[in-house]
């Protein structure tokens, strides 16, 4: 009962905020809606039993990426970023107009429904498993996987992050024009 409620809340938050990202004009508001969408996805992870991934999502996205994006908007926007903001309804001619988007949406929906109809037969062979104690603590299992099976990816990710840090610091470092 509560799981369904949590799922519903998270799904509404995720999808609603994602659509709001697309339709708001102000880039700052878009960032905040993205924040809501990411929190909603963390809730969805929680309903899937992925507690560690859910908290990681909050930690990295809410505490890190969104703040970084807000900083970047602040550093680049200047005073005229509201006027230059664009949304779905104020597009340049080459990007299509309301009609092309409407037709695209319709075609997409038809495609989606067909696919769901096709996929739902395949999905039936994967019945929704009911989980007892199969994920007692994802944290220690993830730890074991990171240290044993995926140790190379674990170590390489730190090198990737080092590369990102050095590269981004070189690019963004203040210098005399």
């Amino acid at each position: 009962m509560f799981a369904q409620l949590l799922f519903l809340l998270s799904a509404v938050l995720t999808v609603g905020c994602a659509i709001a990202v697309a339709v708001t004009k102000n880039i700052m508001h878009s960032c905040i809606f993205l924040l809501g969408s990411l929190i909603g996805i963390a809730g969805l992870y929680a309903t899937l039993g992925a507690d560690f991934v859910a908290v990681t999502q909050i930690m990295v996205y809410v505490g890190g990426i969104v703040i970084l994006m807000l900083f970047a908007v602040m550093l680049t926007g200047g005073k005229d970023f509201v006027s230059r903001a664009q949304n779905l309804l104020g597009l340049a001619p080459s990007m299509g107009n309301k009609w092309t988007y409407g037709i695209g949406l319709f075609v997409g929906l038809v495609f989606l429904l067909t696919n769901i109809k096709l996929l739902s037969n395949i999905m039936k062979s994967y019945p929704a498993k009911t989980f007892g104690n199969e994920f007692p603590s994802t944290v220690s299992q993830i730890g074991h996987l990171l240290v044993k099976e995926h140790v190379l990816a674990f170590e390489l990710s730190s090198v990737l992050l080092l590369g990102a840090l050095v590269g981004a610091a070189i690019i963004a470092r203040p210098r005399k024009q």
């Binding site: 799922f7 994602a18 659509i19 880039i27 769901i116 999905m123 498993k129 610091a169």
Partner: protein, 101 residues
Amino acid sequence: MISLISYLIISLVLFIVGLVVMISRKNIVAILLGIELILNAAALNFVAYSRYVTNNLDGHIFSLFIIVVAAAEAAVGLAIVIRFFQIKETIHIDEATQLRN
């Protein structure tokens, strides 16, 4: 109980919205927002499949690394945006026409 297909639909909607944001916006930061949405849609699928289909935690590991890569991508991407703004005084994507100034 909640079925796999509902997660897939949410993920699909996120992916489409992210794609639309990427296509329709002319602000580079907004395009990065769209990329984040797409990456999250993929990560959500991984976790959903790992719960309903494969029944192990490899999907969790995969989505963890997606989050790591997303962080690195956002850091470098936003640094490029800031540098671009310092040179061009704008972050309109159509202004990005040269590989070097």
